[in-house]
């Protein structure tokens, strides 16, 4: 990876997506992360914020838990490599400015609720009339159509609407769980990035721009939950629910505690099971008939998990992972965030990048999500301060003068 100085020219033509001009009119996670995938791989992304700023600026995490709009970790992460401007689209002049920017752009990425975009006079019909070649990527919990499209919603609501939590996450009888992060937003974001980039790539062939309507709930309901469940339900009228165990039909296949945390204990195929037995020191119980295949082991889950737990509790997670892996058994340590951050593997792959932010100082960030050897991507420039590039973008892109920009600021337009 090439560490690039923060002073590198903005929008310099490098990266796989160089030449693609994107407006990010999103907040929090889904649209900003989608736009980050564009900017980290070389697209010229201008982030347009309302005067009060992206809600992520208030959402933290903050250093020392002291809120500050320029010190939000969430904002920092999702807005690298972008230039940032402010624009009050509720003001007629502001709306005009955004439309002018969109006339000169290839892509708009946004995650406002549909009624909000309509209220601003920024519905798809208006945008398409402004620029027929514009690809409008809208990422919302429920999508632009359907009975819930007018509902208020966030990541949490979208995730739990998808069937994923009821089916796959939590103990029976207890509340279904999200994954402790913005799972629906991220799923929607990568879905939107793939479908949206295709719409840009194939724009001439498709005959122009279009709206790419992503519902985070729908994407998960389809591609995660639906794929493995919906055919069965439609044909046989039966369905499964969460069990709290990693894999109820085979064993061992679940997370177990160990001396210093947890491991994912997996030994299903005969070779894996034999490997595990060897690492455990061939205990007598493991040779019992009822433990000789994954299904019968699962039928005796209570017994076998107790036996294995007794053993794992005497060992550390890294040791368990190393020895089991060496014996052909796919046991992995359940890394904490700190342990993930300290992994030699990720260091050897230059996954982490050191970045400098004017308010947050120097910090270690996650780098590119995938490696393109011919045109490396990844975060280089920190997220913009609120309105940091107002002058530059409005002058360069719209040909305004310095005094025009000053006037806009004075009238509260930007």
């Amino acid at each position: 990876m090439t560490p690039t100085s923060p002073a590198a020219p903005l929008g310099a033509p490098h990266g796989a997506l160089s030449g693609i001009r994107v407006i990010d009119f999103g907040q929090m996670v889904s649209a900003p992360y989608c736009a980050k995938l564009f900017s980290d791989y070389g697209a010229d992304v201008v982030k347009v914020e309302l005067p009060e700023g992206d809600a992520a600026r208030l959402a933290g995490p903050f250093p020392g838990d002291r809120p500050h709009p320029e010190k939000s970790g969430l904002y920092f992460f999702h807005n690298t490599n972008k230039r940032g401007i402010t624009c009050n689209v509720a003001h007629p002049e502001g709306r005009r400015l955004l439309l002018n920017l969109l006339e000169r752009s290839d892509v708009l990425i946004e995650n406002n609720l549909p009624q909000r975009m309509r209220a601003w006079g920024l519905d798809y019909a208006t945008l398409a009339a402004t620029n027929p070649d514009l690809v409008v990527i809208s990422i919302t919990p429920f999508g632009q159509s359907g009975p819930y499209s007018g509902w208020n919603g966030y990541d949490l609501n979208a995730y739990h609407l998808s069937g994923a939590s009821s089916r796959y996450c939590g103990r029976p009888g207890e509340m279904p769980l999200e994954h402790g992060t913005f799972s629906a937003d991220y799923f929607g974001a990568v879905t939107a990035a793939a479908w949206g980039l295709a719409a840009v790539y194939g724009r001439d062939q498709a005959g122009g721009g279009q709206q790419v309507d992503v519902s985070c709930a729908e994407a998960i309901a389809a591609a995660f939950v639906g794929g493995q469940n919906i055919g069965c339900y439609a044909q046989e009228g039966r369905f499964d629910k969460r069990t709290g165990v990693g894999m109820p039909l085979g064993a061992p296949a679940t997370i177990l505690p160990c001396r210093d945390g947890h491991v994912w204990m997996l030994a299903l195929e005969p070779g894996q099971w034999n490997g595990l037995r060897k690492v455990m020191g061939d205990p007598e119980w493991a040779s019992l008939e009822m433990f000789q295949d994954m299904y019968s082991r699962a039928q005796n889950a209570d017994v076998i998990y107790e036996f294995i737990r007794e053993w794992t509790m005497q060992h550390g997670k890294m040791e368990l992972m190393e020895k089991c892996q060496a014996a052909g058994c796919p046991v992995t340590a359940v890394f904490t965030i700190a342990e993930a951050a300290a992994q030699p593997h990720l260091k050897a792959r230059d996954y982490f990048v050191d970045m400098e932010h004017p308010q947050l100082g120097r910090l270690k960030n996650l780098g590119a999500p995938f490696k393109l050897p011919a045109c490396p991507g990844g975060p280089e420039r920190p997220a913009p301060l609120l309105g940091q590039h107002n002058g530059e973008v409005y002058r360069e892109q719209l040909g305004l003068t310095t005094s025009d920009v000053r006037g806009l600021a004075q009238r509260g337009v930007i």
Partner: protein
């Protein structure tokens, strides 16, 4: 005007197996690419034998889950253990733009299809590899299952009930996630090829791609040195309260409620009939609600438990509150929203049976894909080998007879 999909004319040869690799192909296929999965009856993909089967009749071309996850891919069958099959694969790759694979590092080289060999066949080929932990590094040969891969990212350490042990996610969220993400990666490489004429070998580590999902916890670690842990359904950066799933009337019925803004809190209080507890200082502001979140959630759970989940969601939405029923698999097919969006569709398989799969889960206004059933093994053999590669009939018949095309 005829509808044209954005990736028409792009040909993808997909060696992907099980779930993540086929979803890369599916995504590109839905977007218009011609995707040819290479597989073989000599070693049938295990997901082709996953029950339930269409009409209850077992068979590698009847697995309902396999068809849903693989739809969008075509299929040609080649027994790659045979040198002639390898030659055919290379001839096909010579006509292709992208090759996709999700084996472990080094496997493509071992079967004679390493990047250098592919480049000889097609100089600007894009090879997309998506091993669990990338193509190189100390963990390059780490063994994981899709559902445990997330343990290497820190994500699994965050899932669970507040203050408790991690709870396993019972299926590989990362497989479709990495599969769709992978399609984006392929598109970046296609765009670079369009800009420069250059192909490349994309190193897509599923660990690294998925690890970006822990960003909220990662940033708390980077800024404050904290490592995070399970916290039920609370907001990932503690920026909303209430933020949880609450019981409703009936067996295993729940509602999700997320309150991020003050107006939403006012709406919730009004919907609850302005109970006394909600007017106390403990719940007056977001910081106060966060400080008393366990008590807050307990109060709300006592209120929600007597309501029907859908009725309550509708009522809360009328008050501007982000609330939604928690659906189970049985609810999905008849849910009015998913019905209206045609999230799930019934299709007729070429073998004659009906099956329900998911359709185009993204709505594109100009170029909506026509989703067809998942492929039978070798469904595209004739078209590809006779048509595209121009293999004479007699040769084709011999190749089939000799189980090269198999």
């Amino acid at each position: 005007m005829a509808k044209h999909l954005p990736l028409e004319g792009v040909r993808v040869v997909n060696f992907g197996w099980v779930w993540a690799g086929p979803v890369v192909g599916q995504t590109l296929g839905f977007l218009g690419a011609e995707v040819l999965k290479i597989e073989s009856a000599a070693r049938v993909d295990m997901t082709r034998n996953l029950p339930p089967f269409a009409d209850g009749i077992p068979g590698p071309n009847r697995s309902l889950s396999n068809h849903a996850c693989w739809a969008g891919n075509g299929s040609v069958s080649l027994n790659l253990k045979e040198p002639e099959a390898l030659e055919l694969a290379l001839r096909l790759i010579a006509t292709a733009d992208v090759v996709v694979e999700n084996f472990g590092p080094g496997v493509m080289e071992r079967i004679g299809l390493g990047y250098e060999r592919l480049r000889e066949a097609k100089p600007d080929i894009i090879l997309f590899s998506m091993p669990a932990a990338g193509l190189y590094g100390p963990l390059e040969h780490v063994r994981t299952y899709g559902l445990s891969l997330t343990s290497l990212t820190g994500l699994d350490s965050l899932v669970g009930y507040k203050g408790g042990d991690p709870v396993p996610v019972e299926n590989a969220f990362s497989d479709p996630y990495a599969g769709i993400f992978g399609a984006f990666a392929v598109l970046t490489a296609l765009n670079h090829r369009r800009n420069t004429g250059q192909g490349q070998h994309v190193d897509f580590s599923q660990q690294e791609a998925v690890m970006q999902m822990v960003a909220p916890a990662w940033m708390d670690y980077a800024l404050n040195g904290r490592s995070g842990g399970p916290k039920s359904n609370e907001h990932p950066t503690a920026a909303a309260a209430p933020h949880g799933v609450f019981p409703c009337r009936g067996d295993d019925r729940w509602i999700s409620i997320a309150v991020c803004r003050n107006e939403e809190w006012q709406g919730l209080v009004a919907a609850m009939g302005s109970p006394e507890w909600a007017a106390t200082a403990d719940f007056a502001t977001l910081p106060a609600r966060l400080a008393h979140i366990d008590g807050l959630h307990a109060h709300i759970a006592l209120w929600t438990r007597d309501f029907d989940d859908r009725e309550l969601a509708t009522r809360l939405q009328e008050h501007g509150v982000a609330a939604c029923p928690v659906l189970n698999v049985g609810d999905l097919l008849d849910d009015p929203h998913f019905r209206a969006r045609e999230t799930f569709i019934e299709v007729t398989h070429p073998l004659g049976f009906h099956e329900t799969i998911y359709g185009a889960y993204v709505k594109t206004s100009r170029s909506r894909p026509d989703v067809r059933p998942g492929p039978a093994i070798g469904a595209d053999n004739e078209r590809v080998f006779r048509g595209l590669l121009g293999i004479p009939d007699a040769d084709y018949e011999r190749l089939v007879r000799d189980r090269i095309i198999y």
